[in-house]
Symmetry: C2
Subunit: 403 residues, 2 copies
């Protein structure tokens, strides 16, 4: 197997967008080195939106955040995040702890409690060390700084091997610049419907809360909801967007939309490339499907097949597993009309193998990025699914997580 992705070439943005600041601390929520508590502040109440897990064991902080966004009409001053403990499946104590933590932030910065958003990530079923958090929050509120992008990204990492943050800028009409900074964590439990990833999309653009909510939902659908690492979704997954309006300039709405989409897609790709144990990125592209649902079903079935993903891990051009996965979908197609290729090398066509491509196929499956294209020849719909290979390291990382 190849060495894991080289992530050293990722340069993190240096500053948060205008109007935001952050501080982090180590309060002992997780074992090991590094800060585990993050407080992000907006200088003044700003537009806020969230795309939150649909898991029915949604964690206490997720439930609370949902209520706060509804009560405030999409306005927030602060986001409190921690790693190491999900505060999920923690019963009434979990609800109390989430309430205590946001109340503590609201008191520290003197804002309505519903303007504080909160989430946690880590082990499910264990209580937060709430006393330590309460003790740390007032100091954090005084220490926030705009140049804390990397610290922000690191404070929410769980099994991530590297911090994930990205920046895009949009030129404003009057020559000014609008910035969008995205920060995310997540390497396992990544799946359509977002799983245990946590994302923050911050911009100094001025956007109405309702528009921001729609923009975030669309961006998540095009990015985070099209990736998977292990098919599990979680109790805490969420992406928050906050728009401070502090840039003081306006951009073309379409430029802004494109940039937010791009930030989310960049983060999604970083998450997949850092999938637990991942050695290769696997992209499954389905074209010419009869319907969007068929395209999605095929892309997802192939992209989440353990046998396909272990074949990619081994650099093994065992494309029969792709065929078997397509064959168990309900998508409309004629077997003899399907074409399958990997990194442009044809593998299957006319109902049988494409001869004389074995060496090229082996090379394709050994690339750092394996792009499988499936042409169903049944219509015009298409879909992409982004995942990573499934390696023995994935199992090692996940076989011993709580203990």
């Amino acid at each position: 197997m190849p060495t894991p992705h080289r992530r050293a070439d990722i340069t993190l943005p240096s500053r948060l967008p205008t109007g935001f600041s952050a501080a982090t601390a180590k309060v002992g929520i997780r074992t090991g080195a590094g800060d585990d508590l993050l407080l992000l502040l907006a200088d003044r109440p700003c537009a806020a939106a969230g795309v939150l897990t649909r898991n029915r064991f949604a964690a206490a902080p997720v439930t609370r955040t949902r209520r706060h966004l509804a009560a405030s009409g999409g306005v927030a001053r602060a986001v409190l995040l921690n790693a190491g403990c999900a505060n999920a499946a923690t019963g009434e104590r979990g609800d109390r702890d989430a309430a205590t933590s946001v109340r503590c932030v609201a008191d520290a910065i003197d804002c309505p409690v519903e303007q504080v958003l909160v989430n946690s990530t880590g082990v499910i079923g264990r209580p937060l060390p709430i006393e330590s958090m309460v003790a740390a929050i007032p100091r954090l509120a005084e220490e926030t700084r705009p140049d804390r992008v990397e610290a922000t990204a690191r404070a929410i990492m769980t099994t991530d091997s590297a911090p994930k943050a990205v920046e895009r800028t949009v030129a404003a009409a009057n020559g000014g610049v609008i910035r969008i900074v995205g920060v995310a964590k997540g390497s396992g439990m990544i799946h359509p419907d977002m799983a245990t990833m946590i994302g923050l999309v911050l911009t100094d653009a001025e956007i109405e809360p309702a528009v921001l909510a729609t923009l975030l939902r669309e961006s998540a659908d095009r990015s985070f909801n099209r990736v998977s690492v292990d098919g599990d979704t979680s109790t805490n997954d969420s992406v928050f967007a906050l728009a401070s309006g502090a840039a003081g300039v306006a951009a073309e709405p379409t430029d802004l939309v494109e940039a937010v989409h791009a930030v989310c897609l960049d983060l999604a790709r970083m998450i997949v490339a850092d999938g637990e144990g991942a050695s290769r990125v696997l992209e499954v592209e389905v074209t010419s499907a009869a319907t969007a649902a068929h395209a999605r079903e095929v892309a997802h079935t192939v992209g989440s097949s353990l046998l396909v993903r272990t074949a990619v891990a081994g650099g093994d051009p065992n494309w029969g597993r792709i065929i078997a996965a397509i064959g168990r979908t309900t998508a409309e197609f004629k077997p003899e009309e399907i074409r399958v290729e990997a990194n442009l090398v044809p593998l299957f066509a006319g109902g049988g193998p494409v001869e004389d491509h074995e060496d090229a196929a082996a090379r394709a499956f050994s690339d750092e990025r394996v792009h499988i294209r499936i042409d169903l020849n049944a219509g015009d719909a298409r879909e992409n699914h982004l995942t990573c290979d499934l390696t023995a390291d994935y199992v090692r990382i996940n076989a011993d997580y709580t203990t």
Copy 2:
């Protein structure tokens, strides 16, 4: 991790039921040691049934077998099976090869071609060495013997670590005995809807073809269709049943039905215990579901969660992953009314963790068999799902299968 299941204590049946004989040969379909071609004969035309893959890239031999069973009205004289090559996704050549092989058997034993059933298992997308098979079949037809159970089981193995065969007997009314012998292969690609497993259920009872078909369908639904190893289904999965009637005695129909069910369930359990890389068997039992569909969805979602299965591999009582999996189903439940236990140790109840059971929970997850019981407290439906843990060895086995 514990050592793999000890399989040395499994005693295989010594003889096929009366009326059947088998022979095997090594014809070079797969590399490595051991026979790879099996011919099973019935002394005279007998009742035959098949439960065949619903995968839409069903292999050439599967398609042919389906046609033969329809044309013969469920009567067969022979079953030809091979390991090492699935003869799937092989286009017209695959169809020709399947036709050639059954014609060759029909000629050798002088029977109508539609009384020959055929299947293959192994790598998808490669052609059979049909000349070698054709050369071997006439000799095989002359060499069949009734004491060839182990050879039969071994000739269809792919990644299986041990041959799988089991026997049950039913007392007949007049003091005689009816025998049922089951043989199976399958360790990866096992999933509801049967995947790449191949099974043979042989009995010397006398059963009408239509009754045999119903009995086999029901038995498969209760056994093979409730196990999974990796969630992938395949192009070649099938279970065949043949009833020779050669015992010459009659049993209580309900006794016979129970015995066939038991044979299939035994085989399913052997397959799961021999799941690729498996170190532990995982059984997920869902009780008190509102509907059978809900019970099935929860059992299957938890049983196929990579995170649950890697936790079991690590002996790690990370039951939060079970909760997260339940939470992403559509089943009816109230989070605070669900109970989850592992090997009778309560883990989650009243919406939160059950305290003071951490040591007991760790022991439960370290057992050779981990039985997770989920009480949804929403109705009367129940379902079981049988699988194995997901280990680094699974990935190693599957990362390098064709090459």
